[in-house]
């Protein structure tokens, strides 16, 4: 019984997160201006990180956590550099 509840919850969470990933991707592809695209990409990174955590919970595998951490770090660096580029037109001053 407990396993059924958990399996349902984790399955729902995966579907919801994939849907959210698709919506963020939609905003990234559509986004009228560059800042919208960067915001969509940043959101995609964070949702992918949560998706890794949820998949790791479903598999009982602790190593998905490391993937999630790497995605979080990469997402932060990417967004900061993209925002800096939008602000200045160059990355390294």
């Amino acid at each position: 019984m407990t396993a059924e509840i958990l399996r349902f919850a984790l399955g729902y969470a995966q579907i919801a997160l994939i849907l959210a990933l698709a919506l963020a991707c939609w905003r990234m592809l559509l986004g009228p201006r560059a800042q919208d695209r960067v915001l969509g990409l940043d959101t995609m990174y964070s949702i992918a990180m949560l998706l890794f955590l949820v998949i790791g919970m479903g598999n009982g595998n602790v190593f998905f956590f490391e993937g999630a951490l790497v995605i979080a770090v990469l997402g932060f660096v990417t967004t900061v550099i993209a925002a800096k580029f939008l602000m200045r037109g160059e990355v390294i001053e």
Binding site: A13, Q35, T43, M57, A83
Partner: protein, 130 residues
């Protein structure tokens, strides 16, 4: 999926609830990202997933692995702390970049933003505030 059966019922219900609410909040953030009209409104949408979405899923993961492994698994907290530190930085930089671009008439001005307070007009403002 053998490990799922090892959880006691109370923990299974808490983990399921946290995961469902966290994923729903993140999904709502995604919906807002598509539905809201202007960039500054859309800036608020992902914060749902960043704040309590991440917190709830990290807590659920910690609780589940702590119980199935029989020891305190706390390294998920690292993700929580990392997200807590980095989200304000990215959102702040994006907001400021957008404001700067919206004040720059050459890039096309499609959102009304408040002007700068200094006497310098927004068009010939080469540095802005760093």
């Amino acid at each position: 999926m053998r490990h799922l059966e090892q959880l006691p019922p109370w923990a299974a219900i808490i983990v399921a609830l946290f995961v469902v609410v966290g994923a729903t909040l993140t999904l709502l953030g995604g919906v807002g990202l598509v539905r809201l009209k202007s960039f500054y409104q859309r800036l608020h949408a992902p914060t749902l997933g960043y704040s309590y979405g991440t917190l709830l899923i990290v807590l659920a993961s910690m609780l589940m692995f702590s119980l199935t492994e029989g020891r305190a698994v706390v390294h998920e907290l690292m993700i929580g702390v990392f997200i807590m530190i980095t989200t304000p930085i990215t959102m702040l930089m994006l907001g400021r970049a957008a404001l700067r671009r919206d004040r720059d008439r050459k890039l096309g001005h499609d959102e009304d933003v408040p002007p700068r307070h200094h006497a310098v007009p927004p068009d010939d403002d080469p540095q802005g505030d760093a």
